[in-house]
């Protein structure tokens, strides 16, 4: 078995798990459109890096984090909703992405880098990348474990948590920054247009299984890991785009979770 294949599976386990857990948090906090715009910010950052010949991860991370920081104040300044601002920025980032891609020196659309940017590639999974994923996983688990009491209060009811003195803004920004970092890392294997499959499909699948909140986050992690690993293995074996394979794997797992949930409900006492 080649080193590339083993790296793919390890990378998939971490990247998918991270995305699943972050997606569960973002969907619960209704930050989905914000995460959407951050993902496309990361895509635009990567495209700019490609055009400038700079490091893709650094610029993608910078764009995603800058977006997370400025979304709230921008919405306040313009007096409009966060969702609307997020979608406005999403359009801007898409426009910039295409301009940066076209501005890339040489026959841009034919390069492996562009392919990696748009639909992901297992070639992105190198030992350094796995080290980044491992570090991000440790940070997220430590953050959730340390502050779970306050985070759970925010997840239950933001307004009530705020009324009880929890610094909701700080925790929300921390979660958005984590989401930005996670999306930037996942982007390399899923590509910019399919990163949401790893963010939200595992969360949607775990919600079918009716677990506790901790259970939903853990299940999203597991389903995300499984989706990414299976998808990357398919990509490796059949030479298909990594992002597409991950999306299909995630959707199959979601269909299985849904079928299990329906079966469980039909077998529950009191049903006839």
């Amino acid at each position: 078995m080649s080193m590339l294949f083993i790296n793919s599976i390890i990378g998939g386990v971490f990247a998918g798990g991270l995305c699943g857990a972050v997606g569960a948090l973002c969907s619960r906090l209704r930050l989905m459109t914000m995460a959407f715009s951050m993902a496309h910010a990361a895509l635009a950052g990567s495209a700019l890096a490609l055009a400038l010949g700079a490091d893709m991860t650094s610029l993608a991370m910078l764009f995603a984090i800058m977006t997370a920081i400025m979304l709230g104040p921008l919405a306040d300044y313009l007096g409009t909703s966060l969702d609307l601002i997020s979608m406005t920025l999403f359009s801007l980032y898409n426009a910039l992405t295409f301009i940066f891609i076209i501005s890339t020196p040489g026959p841009a659309l034919m390069t492996e880098s562009i392919g990696q940017l748009l639909w992901g590639s297992i070639l992105a999974i190198r030992p350094t990348y796995i080290a980044y994923l491992l570090t991000a996983s440790i940070i997220i688990i430590a953050f959730l474990a340390t502050f779970w009491g306050k985070i759970s209060s925010i997840l239950f009811d933001i307004r009530l948590a705020e009324a009880e003195g929890v610094n909701v803004k700080t925790y929300k920004y921390a979660i958005l920054l984590i989401a930005g970092a996670t999306i930037t890392l996942a982007l390399r294997i899923t590509g910019g247009f399919l990163v949401f499959s790893l963010l939200y499909v595992p969360a949607a699948a775990s919600l079918q299984l009716k677990a506790s909140m901790k259970g939903i986050i853990a299940l999203s992690w597991i389903i995300g890991s499984a989706s990414a690993s299976i998808g990357l293995a398919m990509s490796f074996l059949y030479d298909l785009p990594a992002g597409s394979c991950i999306t299909i794997a995630a959707l199959i797992l979601m269909a299985m979770a849904s079928a299990y949930s329906k079966l469980e409900a039909s077998l529950a006492p009191g049903r006839w």
Binding site: G79, S153, A163, E164
Partner: protein
């Protein structure tokens, strides 16, 4: 925890609060001083500004003009300190059946808000169960919050508010889903205990018939203003 209680638990001076984009204030020119350790009933029709008043007191809504001091802390500058000493039961409390947190977890969150990281000790967990027991909800402690009835959800949130041992308890229509027997128990057994422990209670209701309650101050609001204040053996300034 640091306390900064003066003679008054709440002081408002010429306070007007507007909702975003609205030209008309939701509450206007409110001047009110409420002493500590009293039960205050705020009544008035829908849209009178009762909820806005509570949320302005906690700094959840920022007043456009005037001055608010809650438990000795200036709002909104020091709102987090006042909120840490307060409990709030909102009017719109109902959660969907898919809500994954259990009743016990929901009450525990109230205590987690007041610890540096949110981690609870054994003593905190005993307080959680004690509060649930007081409201007759201990047997439902491990059930998902969303699977409880409206009245049960309201009782769990009331248990959460009480478990925090607040110096200020703000209750917005707290009995809207609770049966008469439990209402009487709360007002005759739980409220006096909280008042004895130094808590000030503000209870908002649109109902005018509150024969079951022995309020020290009754404030009637209409159209964003205080129309009338009735006091009993206490000195509230309007």
């Amino acid at each position: 925890m640091e306390e900064n209680l003066g003679c008054y638990a709440i002081e408002l001076e010429d306070v007007s609060t507007y909702y975003y984009g609205e030209k008309r204030p939701a509450i206007r020119d409110i001047t009110l001083r409420i002493p500590a350790r009293v039960l205050v009933l705020i009544v008035g029709p829908n849209g009178a500004g009762k909820t806005t008043l509570l949320e302005t007191i906690l700094g959840l809504l920022r007043p456009r003009s005037g001055r608010v001091i809650t438990l000795g802390y200036e709002i909104p500058r020091m709102a987090s300190k006042a909120r840490a000493l307060s409990s709030y039961l909102p009017q719109d409390f109902m959660k969907s059946p898919a809500e994954p947190f259990t009743a016990r977890e929901v009450v525990a969150m109230g205590l987690a808000s007041n610890t540096p990281t949110g981690r609870l000790l054994e003593g905190n967990l005993r307080r959680v169960d004690h509060a649930l027991k007081m409201l007759g909800m201990l047997e439902y402690a491990d059930r998902p919050f969303g699977k409880l009835s409206g009245g049960q959800q309201q009782k769990v949130l009331l248990a959460r508010a009480i478990a925090r041992e607040p110096k200020l308890l703000l209750l917005d229509e707290p009995f809207s889903a609770i049966d008469q027997e439990t209402r009487s128990y709360i007002t005759s057994e739980i409220f006096p205990r909280l008042l004895e422990n130094g808590c000030t209670i503000l209870l908002v209701s649109h109902e005018l018939n509150h024969s079951y309650m022995d309020a020290d101050i009754v404030i009637r609001m209409v159209d964003g203003r205080i129309e009338r204040v009735i006091t009993r053996d206490v000195h509230a300034i309007h």
